[in-house]
Symmetry: D2
Subunit: 286 residues, 4 copies
């Protein structure tokens, strides 16, 4: 048993000193605290249990304060812009099960991303969006519902839709309650669905798909087992298999998912379509 | 700080010996374990922190096994039949917020209860339901959404709709993870919305409304604070106010609510309309 | 058979000359066309088949253009302000069945109205809302689901919650397709649920409840029968009972309901809480 | 302008005599009327405007009567069995937009189909489903949301997931109100998304994908324009572009979609997993 977390920041926090092969920068932007962790090599990757790559974490005061603020959206969009290619077509993928509230962050965010790949040249001209990149969007569901691994689907799409890069959105697990709904992690290292729950499947990353894969997520749960382990310094475990499936989450989990998905979608649309007015994007989405 | 539970059974479990003024019977029915706790007087009520009355608890193996089984529905309906008047009109009230998944048990169950108060004599004859009682159904929402205390609403309805008794359905908090979605509590002592969370409002009961109030519920969450307190023998608390709003629940909370509401509605419809075929009730509901 | 409409404007349009007892004013406000019809006496009421009272109709270009615009919200709020008392407590009631999309306008709008009746003096002071009126909100469901007539519920609440006036919100039927989702009717004459479909129940109005009842609605459907009757100059009817239950509506009915309910809620909140900043209301709602 | 229908049966009904290249058989099965239309060659295809192939139509009395009956599910499953290969793996695709109620039939049905492709040999043995075929399921969304043509997605999947055949489910348009929710069409000729609305995209069929494509659908709407055209013998048109987007549908469209999707899913699961007990499939789905 060990504590579970999907955040590079929390893996790094377990070390009093920075492990070899890992770099860390911290700065503030308005009310947001930003941490940039760089896993430089396999030694670093082994230490903090995350693949080589950059991990940007934006932490904000609890949701109700300012999560919809223009300032926060801009901060997220700016940080995301550092990770995604300036040009080229994108495929945005919302991972997770839309019918399980704490897992619905990916599908809900994807539903608010503007798809433009289908818009022909003439319509683009009329709409004043000639310059924007081509974006496609998918929320493929989870293996148990579909029988298809997301990796296989993306592999197939990478040769037909041929995006230049992929953005995957997923609900994350944090180690600490205070980060639920208040933290956004963005990385260029891709994602391995199920990795956090010991049920790892194919890695979705540049090394397996041949194109950059940027992962974006918000922690929506703490594993009950992790909470208990932590609060008892590892002296107590949840032993029943059913108990180990339990999660800790705010009672208003539905609200957290609604807000976090709106925030992520705003930031992603802003970063992808940086060269047109946000109002135009909002109008095309409605 | 103390552990939070809405179950009389769990209050009783805190005593090695049965407190004065409390009686307890246990028996089995098929795969279900049934406990009947009777709080006989104020001394007992003070000891186990539940009002005077009868509390029937039906515990079943975890949900996936047999929750839809005809046997379980019948067991619940039989136990409920002990608590509700044999004749007379009923008002069924689903408490809770339908937009917060762990709190939606009441409204979702109410949505599956057959209302018959509006059906006139001629239609009843044609439908073959002359003999059934008159039932009305309401899911009034929560104080924060409506500005109206459920007590005030029921008080007003008790003089206009004039039901002979009320059934209130609500999501409960349990102390133990294993009881989430696997336990049904039914009592004739009414309910005090918000009592469990230190935010008690008017009691909804026979003594305040003048007619019997039967409460039915299923635990859907354990308070995170209770879990931690328990697992650390009271040595550790969650100190942050935000943390203390956290709940522990199965990841598939949506599924738990769907199944538990279907089960409760089946049992309540069966108990209310005991004198017609269940198939006829199902047909009228569709 | 005759054409069905819930709009006073469309009843009035059937007369080449204004009938006795009916007055009509028309003006423009930005892109909105506003018609004010006043039914002055029973003679007028009989002619245009609407009770005595004032009917304000705001027509806008099709939804996608500017329905979210600040200008339109303000126009609606101003017109509504003419109909509701300047002071006193309000009860806002969303009529209709939330599970039937074309009928869900009332419950969806009610879900976005800020309830303040439950907020105590101290909290009001802290939140900076001492001056606002007290508002309660209810979406009681329909007779077939609840067994309770909305009139009976409101009658009971008028003696317990004791609002000074009531606002009822309901989806309307129009005679013409072009008005679906593009027209708002507000009146001080109350409402008779089911009146439009030949299934009239108790009138909800000042004369039956003793307090002003302001009705607000948006047409979401045209009866298929009305469309056919109109387009064939009354020569063709839909004869099958099932066919006569059919409605004509935009394919994107879900979107129409989402937008219209957001618009109405914005305007109603603005009119009710005219003496605080809209931003504060938005914050309290989130 | 012409009347719009997705039903081969209704195309055929326009001819007093059977056109060359088209065959038609009619029979009864319990309360269901079954019509089998075979388009034998291009001459027939041109006449009735449907590709070469077999079209089975099952018509039942209006929904409320017996749509959930075991008898009807069996009739549909039997007819479907005639169209799908006895062995081999299947990909089931739910077409349409899950957020537009009249268009949500495909995604809703797909959500109730059991996916088994991901279940390994050992688990199959334990679950007693060694013999069943491998099935995957997808609800890919519509072009406007995703920017990806369903054809391109299926083309890509046909080389990675490599199903032996595909079943596509879609909401259909009928010409007559009486067929809404009461008719099921199944064919082996595939489908062209958007064909009915003059917005045809790539055909999804055996000739384009190289594997059998079976299409299954239920009419959920009549185009308002078709209704008007028909009822006025072509003398009246809806001229406004917005009006031409209007549909005619039952007020209880949500209920129609719920019931029709449950029925189709039952029948498809029954046909795909014909060699295990339906109860076992139901259990695996829950």
């Amino acid at each position: 048993m060990q504590t579970r977390t999907d955040l590079a920041l929390e893996q790094r926090e377990q070390f009093p000193d920075l492990p070899d092969g890992v770099e860390c920068e911290e700065f503030k932007k308005g009310s947001a605290a930003i941490t940039k962790i760089t896993v430089k090599n396999e030694q670093g990757a082994k230490a903090i249990k995350k693949p080589v790559g950059s991990y940007l974490t934006v932490e904000v005061p609890p949701f109700t304060d300012n999560l919809k603020s223009e300032e926060l959206i801009l901060t997220l969009a700016e940080n995301l812009t550092e990770l995604i290619p300036k040009n080229g077509s994108a495929l945005v993928v919302g991972l997770g099960n839309r019918e399980i509230t704490p897992d619905a962050l990916g599908p809900k965010t994807a539903g608010k991303i503007l798809a433009t790949r289908q818009i022909g040249a003439e319509l683009r001209r009329v709409a004043g969006i000639e310059k924007i990149r081509s974006v496609s969007v998918l929320a493929p569901g989870v293996l148990g519902q579909t029988g298809i691994e997301v990796f296989d689907l993306l592999k197939a799409l990478s040769t037909s839709v041929k995006p230049d890069f992929i953005i995957v959105i997923d609900a994350l697990a944090s180690r600490y309650l205070r980060r639920l709904g208040t933290t956004v992690q963005m990385s260029d290292s891709g994602i391995t669905p199920g990795a956090g729950v010991g049920n790892a499947r194919h890695e979705i990353s540049k090394s397996t798909l041949g194109i950059p894969v940027i992962a974006v997520g918000v922690p929506t749960v703490v594993d009950a087992e992790t909470l208990v382990f932590d609060l008892t310094d590892g002296k107590t475990n949840l032993n029943q298999p059913a108990d180990r499936e339990m999660i800790v989450t705010p009672r208003e989990i539905d609200l957290l998912i609604d807000r976090a998905s709106a925030l992520l979608a705003d930031a992603i649309n802003r970063a992808l379509y940086y060269n047109v007015e946000p109002e135009l994007i909002a109008e095309l989405l409605s």
